[in-house]
Symmetry: C2
Subunit: 331 residues, 2 copies
Amino acid sequence: MVTILDVARLAGVSKATVSRALNGKVFVREEVKARIMQAIDETGYKPNQLARNLANNKTNSVGLVITNGLYNGPFFSSMIYHAATDSEMHGRQLVLADGKHSAQEERDAIDLLLSLRCEAILIYPKYLTVAELDEIIDTSETPIVVINRELTRNRSQCVFVDHQQSSERMVAYLLAQGHTRIAFVAGFEGSPTGDSRLAGYHQALRNAGIEPDPQLLVRGSWSTDSGYAAGRELLARNVPFSCVLAGNDDMAIGVAKACQEAGLRLPEDVSLAGFDDSVIGKYYNPALTTLHVPMDEMIRHAVAILLLPDETPPRAHQGELVCRESVVKVG
Amino acid sequence: MVTILDVARLAGVSKATVSRALNGKVFVREEVKARIMQAIDETGYKPNQLARNLANNKTNSVGLVITNGLYNGPFFSSMIYHAATDSEMHGRQLVLADGKHSAQEERDAIDLLLSLRCEAILIYPKYLTVAELDEIIDTSETPIVVINRELTRNRSQCVFVDHQQSSERMVAYLLAQGHTRIAFVAGFEGSPTGDSRLAGYHQALRNAGIEPDPQLLVRGSWSTDSGYAAGRELLARNVPFSCVLAGNDDMAIGVAKACQEAGLRLPEDVSLAGFDDSVIGKYYNPALTTLHVPMDEMIRHAVAILLLPDETPPRAHQGELVCRESVVKVG
DNA sequence: CTGTTAGCGCATTCAT
DNA sequence: ATGAATGCGCTAACAG
């Protein structure tokens, strides 16, 4: 491996001068600089970022922890996209770490990023609880921001939308369209996002004086496949409903498939809605009514909190109802 | 920052002993080890991976270069997913770098990963040509594997499928269904993948004695939005066709939207097919006929070439025709 | 403006 | 089995 010393010798200067010529903070005679550049060319020298980082005690990188199984699918791909874009905008490199399948592994992923000396860490938790996250942030010297959880103590270290309220708004809209028998495809049992959306569904129904029918509740696990399975389960129960609200768009599209296989037409026979506003919903036939989650805005905010803490006040993010063709008026 | 020295002092041993206790290659008395572990606990010591990497001259990481604008969308999300999974399977960490918007920036991304001392690099090129990639690989000491290009010299350093042949098979199938007026939505001008698929389309038509009609060719840029625009453009030309083949599934779904808006029913009035076999195609209504690209298999192979070069013979990857509902027989 | 010296935190000789 | 010394490649004082 060719090091800075090789370049220095070839150029007939000291290591320090090469370093200075490269980093440009201190002036180096043009003539010397030229010799150095030529030596770099000849040797094919590439600075060792590792050594540089160690000497500077900084890495210019931000870490992102998400559960591997979730990279797939439009939601997380959009998240990685924005995390990478925004990091680079601040001159930082994004490093991914896998939260895998347990709270412990999510901790391990954070530790890995910490040991890599990332300047800041972004986490979209799946298993770690709010209490655990608060604890981790309390004891961490490097800034950590949590996406999609409302923390108790470190309220400025998180970005999120109010899923329950969003869900209430969605259900209120469905009710306003005349639907009273609204089925709900929940997410994972224990998923805070899923639970909040479910709670919003229940709340909105009760606000309208409707007692939720447990027969109208099925569970999926966020994927399109699971939505399809949930849809079939719902249909097999043979209970009447005029509308299905799925915990996210992916599942909604799975439900649509199940309905169509059963000979139901969308939206004539059954209305359908989801959450997240993923790209496909816009192009699906019928175009999917959904609740937009401003991922771009949230990630931009999260990265700003990490990297420019003084200039970044906490602020709320709002979901937005997107009405398209998949929901029709009834009654 | 708590270092190995703090731990050593607290445990009343030398840095070397702590290091040994941690790495486990050399035996350390159980009793001493216990003291060290306790000291680690008390101090909250986290090894500095940077320093460790520098001392070891290895990083346990593999880099992935792709163009940022492409992270989005199911195709690349699946790629990142598999790259991360397979890397971790080999005990390596995935580091993303952005190829941005030019060949130079793709080079820069590689250089960044090189300077980070990644052990190996994976690149899904967009701007760099085969000749340039061959040149880069020739002069690089760290292994580089190119995804989705057939290299000229470094034939064992790339994984790809034959897009032209796949496309020919697809078009042959469409012809066999009785379609003779088949429109084609190409990708970027100059995209090797897009050009190969287009070439396959032309070849298959000529094989069947049909002269390609330029009126049936439109261009998109891989995104669903661009497919929609291309679809509208095609319809505006007012030329007859019974089938549209899009350069990828995303664009196919955009085309579908355009057709439906024009009052055409799928697949009764127009058949539709794509490439890639993205998740949504399976659930789309009608389910999309497509050509499966074995991304999982290709990435697994690529990572194996990088990390286990001796055990990994080069081999061809095959696309596979997936016939679903969006294409119907005519005539 | 440039050379010399001293670390950054850790792993790894060589001693003992 | 453990300690002391050395070096990984680079940057940052400190001199001149």
